[in-house]
Structure formats: C-alpha cells, structure tokens
Amino acid sequence: MKLSLAKIVERYIIPYGLQLSAFISTLFLISPIIWMVSTSVKNEADVFNRPPEWIPSEITFDSYFRIMNGFVVNILYNSILIALLAAIIATIVGALTAYALSRFAIPGKSTIMLFFLSSLAFPIPLLMMSMYILLMKLGLLDTLTSMVIGHTVITLPITVWLMKNFIDQIPKEIEEAAFVEGASFFRIIFFIVFPLSMPALTASALFVFVTSWNELFFGLSFISSPDLRTVPVGISQSFLQDFKTDWTGMMSLAVIVTIPIGIIFIFLQKSFLRGMIAGSVKG
C-alpha cells in the first residue's frame, strides 16, 4: 500500500498533533494553580530557586500546620455559612419565580426577563452605596445577615434566568397530568418540577455558592468586626500585614481556602455543567 505524505500527515501527525496541543494547552492553563500547590509544599528556602522548580525536590506540609489557627477556621466558618444560606435562598426564590415566569402569561414578561438579566450589568458600587444606607437604617450593618442579603441580591437574576430556561423545556403535559389527577400547585412544583429540574437547581446553587465565596467588597464595606470576616476579606487584610514574605504560608492558606468549593465542585460538576449549558445555550 502506497503511503503518500498527505496520508501520513492525516492519519498520524494530525491526531497526535491535536492530542499534544490539547495536553500542552491544558497544562499551560492550569499552570498557575500547579504553581500555587507546588509552592505550598516547598521548603522556605526552595521557593526562589532558579530554574523555577515545578515539582519540589522536597515536599513538606510544614506551612499548612504553621498557618492553621483560629483565624483561618473563623473565616472559613463565616464564608461557608453565608454561602450556604445565600445558595439556598437564591435558588429556591429564583426557582419559584422562574416557574411563575415560565408557565404563566404574565404581562410584560419579556421586559421583566430583560430587566433581570441587565441588572447584572448595573454597577456594583452604585448598588452597594444604597444598600449601605438601607442596611444602616435597618441596623443590619456588621451582621452576617447583610452579607446573605447582599449575595442573594446579586445572584438572583442569574438563578431566575437559568431556572426559567430549564423549566421552559420541561413538557407542560406532565404537570397537566398531575393537575388532572388532583395535585395542588404546591405538590406539582415541589414534587414534580423540582425533582425534574435538579441539574438547573444544582447549577444555580453552585453558582451562588461560588459567587458568595469569592465576594470581597460587600464584606469589606458592610462588616467591621474581625469575627465576622469572610474568607476573601480575611485574606486580603492579613495578606497586607501577616504574610508579606511568607509565600509558602500564603499559598498554603490559598489551597486550604480553595478546598471546600473544590470538593463540592468535583461532586457536582457534571450536573452543574448540564444545568448551566441548558440554561445558557438555549437562552
């Protein structure tokens, strides 16, 4: 069999080329993270070695033990609590609203949807100022509640949008069948629509959780007590004071702070992606 050059290229070079490109690109993209983890387990002295060491010659977990203290636990606890509450509230409120928008011919529906979506573009500082004044009047400043409210507010538009797009795709006949069988709307929503919307619910909850976890500025502005600091707030403040040159410590803290979401993410990733894609691609 004659193998021309073109055939060789096509059958061998291209597939392997693609494989290699994908591998290298991925590696390149995740390199900052690898560097982060790698630094966190290095010896202090090895951090500045040249050529830069990607895989440490010696691995030590000293820095982890060094930085673990009440402060770290405190900020983790606050962030988890706020993120969980915000995720639950934003997802459920969003889902109920999305159901109403999906199934009922509400006048001005498309305007409402557009408004929801565009509220994401509204400048956050603008939002924060008025919220600051409002919370001040309500006496909610310097509480975890203010954070939960703030995080719910900025994520609600997306959860509504995601869930509505998803629910739009669930055949109405299933709900009609249940209605004919005598089910109330409460039953229909919680026992039929919600179970069938699991991907979108997961995606929403995860999205809110991650957004809340990341959120820095509500925390900086609304909270003053050191005990109530969230992860980003705590890190940004201690970064300036405590960790000026302690790079291994800083990276260890970084890794610790990433782990909670990382774990949840790994388990829910499939569902999350499905929900997010169904929500956005169809929209």
């Binding site: 209605f179 004919v180 069988e181 005598g182 089910a183």
Partner: protein
Amino acid sequence: MSYLELNNISKSFDKVEVLKNINLNIEKHEFCVLVGPSGCGKSTLLRIIAGLEYPSIGHLNLNNNNVTDLKPRDRNIAMVFQNYALYPHLTVRNNMEFGLKLDKVPKEKINDLVNEAAQILKLEPYMKRYPKQLSGGQRQRVAMGRAIVRDPSLFLFDEPLSNLDAKLRTKMRTEIKSLHFRLKSTTVYVTHDQIEAMTMADKIVVMNEGEIIQVGTPLELFDNPKNLFVASFLGSPEINLLEGNVQSHNGKTSLLVNENVMIPLPNKIKLTEGKKIIIGIRPQSLKISKLKTDFMARVSILETTGTSTFVFSDVGDKVLCAETNRDLDLKVGDIISLKTDPEEIFLFDPETSERIKN
C-alpha cells in the same frame, strides 16, 4: 338527560375564536370520537371537558352536575395525553399510584387497584421500571393504567396513538376499545386520523374551524355526509370529486364533465339543466367496466395492498381512484372504462358545499 352535555360552548384565546357555539350530548358508556383536521378545536374542546381550560361562554354538565367552574380533580375524570406525560422520575408503579395517593385511598386498596390495572394492561413485568426504560407502546399502556386505576366518570384521550408506528397503532386501537367495553366506561377520544374515528367510535363528531359539522355513527356519516367536507374527510382513500354541468336527456340526468366524460346521475333528485354541481364517488363505488362507457380514463398508478388494488386513472386533469380486486390485468397507460351506480353518487352544491338531496 345525557351523561355529558356541552351547551353553547365558545372559547377565544386573545380575540381568536377557537370554538364557536358547540352543543354536544354524550351518553353513558358511549365511545365518542372528536375528529377533524389540525387546528379545528378538538383538543381545546377536550381540555375544556377536562377542566384544563375554561370556556369563554357556555357551560357543561357531567352526570347532572354543572361542572363548568370545577377543577379537574373535582370532576373525577382521567386523561391520557398525546405524549403520555408520565412522571419521568417515578417508577411505573408510582406513576399509577400517584392519583390514588392524592385521594388518600388506603394503601391496601391502592395496591389492589394498581395490580388489577397492571394485569389488565399486561404491565406486571415493568412495574419497577422508569418511563425512559420503556418502549412507546409500553409507556402508552402505563398512561392508560394511570387513568383506569382511578375509576373515573369519564375517560379522555388526546390523540394517544399519534406517536406510535402504524402496526402498533392498529393493535392499540383494539386494545383501547376492548378496555372501554370491559370497564363499561364513557370515553371521549380526540384524533385527526379518520380511520381511528371510523373503527373505534360509537358516535363521531366531525369538527372544522371551531364548529361541529356533523354528528352521527360512523356508517351514518359515511353513507350520508352532510357536506363536501365530511364526505372528503371520512373514507380512505379519499372520495373522488368531479365537477360538471347537469344535462337532461330523455328523462335521464347526467353530469357533463368534459366532451369525453358523461356520468349518469340519480333520477330522484331534481336538478336544473345546465346547473354546475360537484359529485363525489367513493373508490369502493367506482368500478371498471368491461363494456365501453362514456366515462373513459387512462391508468396512471396501480397500488396493491395485497387484498385489493387501487387503480388511479386520469380523467381530464383530475386523478380518480377505483378500488378493485387484486387480480385485474392492467398496466399503466391502459385506457379503461369506468362506471358507477348513480344511487351511490353524492351531489354537492359548488357554492355552499352542502349536499344536494332533493
């Protein structure tokens, strides 16, 4: 009083009138089929009977009760949807139990009813499966099972067989009908397929553009269609239609279609000379004559079903269909003579499309 009475029902969606003054009576134990082309309003009417929509005007009585404003659950009806609408996240058994649990029926009774329905519909091997693991026909039976366990006053079917392949459809038709007999139920069945209507119904309601055109038994509608629409809608293959002018000769009237074709018309119907009319001849009534007639045609297509042959032939610019026995020796291109019994011809007024009877 009839079991189900629909009085002056009209329904509009946003200024579009979908149902216009529907009046209909359905008796107990009747199998009533609403049939018509897409968009005629039959599904909307069914949904109004179910309580999924409310009429803009009019009311309905079920079993002597005015149910117009009642929710579906209070009407004690069961419905089988076109896409079955099974609960995807529940097993077959749970699907069938759903309604009973809502009615707070005691657990033992639920089991009895569900098992009985499963037996009737031969669903026993599938009770623990999920809808997505079932075939179309099986899903359909689960949908029916869900309906029959509740022992409803009325069964409603919304084009349940549309998603099945042809062979399964024929089989399920008989199953649905025999179920109807076995349970002594009253059924309203919606379909666009006139064969389903003809084979299953005790009473057919032909609808078009939001109105009821004609109501009657299958044979009544077949033998005595009120207008062109009903005559064309029922019957497969479709009825043959020809247009022409009335001619009188020696006391006999015929239809002059063109210079080559003249067809004898029934005598007892009085027609004015020269009047333009439309005639309808069913394929079963159109015969191929061994003798030469004034009704000549050229064979264009031959379709054999195995039991009979449909001969399609050209008359002028129209194509006519004649059903014959399968052993006729014909080829495409042959010139044939057609004949038909004048008494079996339907006459229609070209302007009103109404049937001319006297």
